[in-house]
Point group: C3
Chain length 351, copies 3
């Protein structure tokens, strides 16, 4: 994955010319890779973004450090001062680690339907199948062992890692990354009950994925029942996430691993959903909402903010003792009300 483009690395002056920020120290210093404050040697550049790591900053042997103004005096290493050190680091890391591009071409073992359009700049990996009428954009990489259903369209410069399955008719935008084993467009879980038997509801909608979306390994996004399931631009989804049919995920929202979002739910823009959160179907989550990891959301959220629903963990014996009362909270609350009434009465008669 790694692979520095230039074995001489890049000078700090070059970085500042390219990405801005203020340089303090020797601009001729060259770095070849990013590193952590603790682990980086003189050929690496590290970043500092949280006061918690102050002692690591003081001790770092990194060739240079990216940090914010208030901390610029806490190291003597060459440093780049910027408002958003983590974003700056992201850009430097991306510059030093350009994504690997496979050699364009269709692997001889791939099976490409003659009606599919595959430009010469695309990569189609070994043992991959491209269905009828598929439209592949310039610079697309569909690595090995993928299955691209009929009439799918994949926007330019999108990368599909091995073993991705895209069901027929789905649309994937530009510059997306789909990790291994992701399944896009399987049938939603729709069925009607009749006499104790489930009748399958055909799922005739699509999945439509915008530009700059990243989808994690083994994540599943179901096609819509009638209309489409939509993942808007810039959404980032981690591994093992399930997104039900007819959902819409608003632009630039991020969804961490193991999250489940049931069908027909609309998640707003710029939301952040923590790992293993579970979101009920048929609800709406306001823009800019943060949902804590492990939280279950059963109703719509109208106001942005941070929402949480976690049972605090305890040593098992204490849990046993305390959790038992959960089943009787209503009774406990009633008892407190009764005590209050009796106390009111006593106080009145004592006056």
């Amino acid at each position: 994955m790694a692979g520095v483009s230039d074995p001489q690395g890049v000078s700090l002056s070059d970085l500042v010319a390219r990405f801005g920020g203020e340089l303090i120290g020797d601009g001729a210093v060259r770095v070849r890779q990013v590193g952590t404050l603790e682990g980086a040697g003189p050929d690496r550049i590290a970043f500092f973004s949280h006061p918690r790591y102050r002692s690591s900053l003081r001790l770092t042997r990194a060739g240079a450090v990216i940090l914010a103004r208030p901390f610029a005096g806490e190291t003597a290493r060459p440093r780049i001062v910027t408002d958003n050190p983590y974003a700056y680091y992201a850009k430097v890391a991306a510059y030093l680690n350009p994504p690997h591009k496979a050699v364009p071409g269709v692997h001889p073992s791939a099976v490409v339907d003659p009606t599919a359009r595959v430009p010469a700049s695309a990569v189609i990996g070994a043992h991959t199948r491209i269905g009828a009428g598929v439209v592949v954009g310039e610079g697309v990489q569909v690595l090995d062992g993928c299955s691209i259903g009929d009439q799918v369209s994949i926007g330019e410069d999108t990368l599909l890692y091995p073993g991705v399955v895209v069901y027929p008719g789905c649309v994937i935008g530009r510059r997306c990354i789909l990790h291994a084993g992701a399944v896009i467009g399987a049938d939603g879980f729709g069925m009607a009950l009749e006499n104790g038997r489930w009748l399958k509801i055909p799922q005739i909608g699509r999945v439509v994925i915008g530009d700059d979306v990243e989808i994690g390994a083994n994540t599943t996004i179901d096609r819509g029942t009638i209309e489409d399931t939509v993942i808007e631009d810039g959404v980032k989804i981690d591994n093992l996430v399930q997104i039900g049919h007819n959902c819409r995920i608003g632009a630039h929202s991020a969804i961490a691993g193991c999250v489940g979002i049931a069908g027909s739910t609309k998640v707003g823009r710029h939301c952040r959903i923590g790992g293993a959160a579970m979101i009920q179907g048929h609800i709406e989550i306001a823009d800019n909402t943060d949902i804590s990891g492990g939280t279950t959301i059963l109703k719509s959220i109208d106001a942005p903010g941070v929402y949480t629903s976690i049972f605090p963990f305890l040593p098992h014996r204490e849990w046993l003792k305390n959790a038992a009362h959960i089943r009787h909270l209503d009774e406990l609350a009633r008892e407190v009300r009764e005590l209050k009434a009796r106390l009111d009465q006593l106080e009145r008669s004592a006056r």
Copy 2:
């Protein structure tokens, strides 16, 4: 996925002749596809099944509507009156959207063991492997990139989407649908501890799946340790579900996405398990039990009903304030008991 068999669609009279119900309005009206009340134009048929959507019913431009008797007067559109509009809709949708069937035959890139039995009516997709002694039923479709282990049997008209893996010896019934990336028959999580090391317990049982079962994308069902893991007829399982070794899932139960069922648990017939529920191992769930999404079940359930165990979500600050008391509920309950005793005492002496 979509694809109406007849470009002229079907007349309402034909639908009623085929599926029953009472027609109100012009039976010559033809519909070509299903739609939502909001989105459907005159060539589509929609359904109405919940009073919540009454205003959509009044405004719909659908060519026809499927609905129940009490609401038959709330639209002037041609309509079909039936007791179970959602089931009726399922049948119409299935009729208008017959499942796509691939052209029978074995793709030249498939690898089929000479001892496997593959009828001429079956589809074996590109880059699929069929192991020794496999028995494939009439009309079966194993799409591309699947791996079917030795001695597996697949009942007639069953459909495996791309990338399904079936381990050796498993049995899949008739008319099943297995979505992409499902893994059937991996080893259960069985091991014995000896001197701090785990010894693997060989998993020599199978997975046996009945007829008319649907299994979601990237769902995993483990083989039994000694006896079999069994999924009975008509069970519907959503994406990213884990079913442990030796489980038995009763007929016509439905299991939503992200559910985990630990080993040796028996789920009854006609149960409904909501998304992201977690069910302990070695327990039994009564027939007709509903488990709410996000619920953790730690003990057997003897009586049917709806069961829930969700911590209600709150704005994070309020959660912090309230959740802290969970760790001290036992103390709080004790304090209430003490207050009660003291109050009893005071009241006695006040008399």
Copy 3:
């Protein structure tokens, strides 16, 4: 999967000679397979490890039983007495069910980079791709439909079931088992926010997996951001588990299905994490910690023990009644404090 090496089976005397324990009864009795106390016939050997199954022990028709000293008198069947019947059973089961080994060789449909090193003793299955510079150990089996990225190394006698994807640069130890659909080394979920857009942080670390590790079906383990994600020797991981970037899982820990472990968390050695548990990122779990299934861990655990955080399940109506109070626990606790103060006051004035 099953398949006894010797159709005559093995005598109890042979088992005791091989694995120790004390034989009571006829050592010439031969068993061909393991079985359950309830299901085993005279050609099978069963084990008894929990007093709960005492009645099954008395009724068993098994050819022999493995049990601990205190229960040796509760059956008249031939029996092997041992301190750890379950571990003994594991060894007998493994002896009677040696793992299936495919015939060594590279399947003609496999695509192996000429720079990869694949010994003659290895199996490379149909439709599998082996990347540049990959090093495959002696006796390794990479079954069909796998994708092994460039520069990966796989230790001797490791088995990859169909459809496993290993991203470039990862290291897998000896005698590991990776189940179908596992994805090793996808990018961690790392990104920086700038002006409402997510910038991807390149993930340049690897996944390094020790010896004797088992990884379940469709489980995902992300590569490190800068340094490596590490799974130490003897770790056992079930299906549909997500392990985030930069995690370290200590030796001989076991992680059940549907668990999520967020990035940069260190789990100690000999831990046991129950199904569907969720562990926060950037924390540390002490050696020998047990985490109950369904539990959410939000903070580091310094002391070994069993930890739990489950909301007890209730019939839905009772849940509604009781859960409502969770949102007002702080108020309830305040009311109790106030009642106490008022009662203190009353008691003082009553004296």
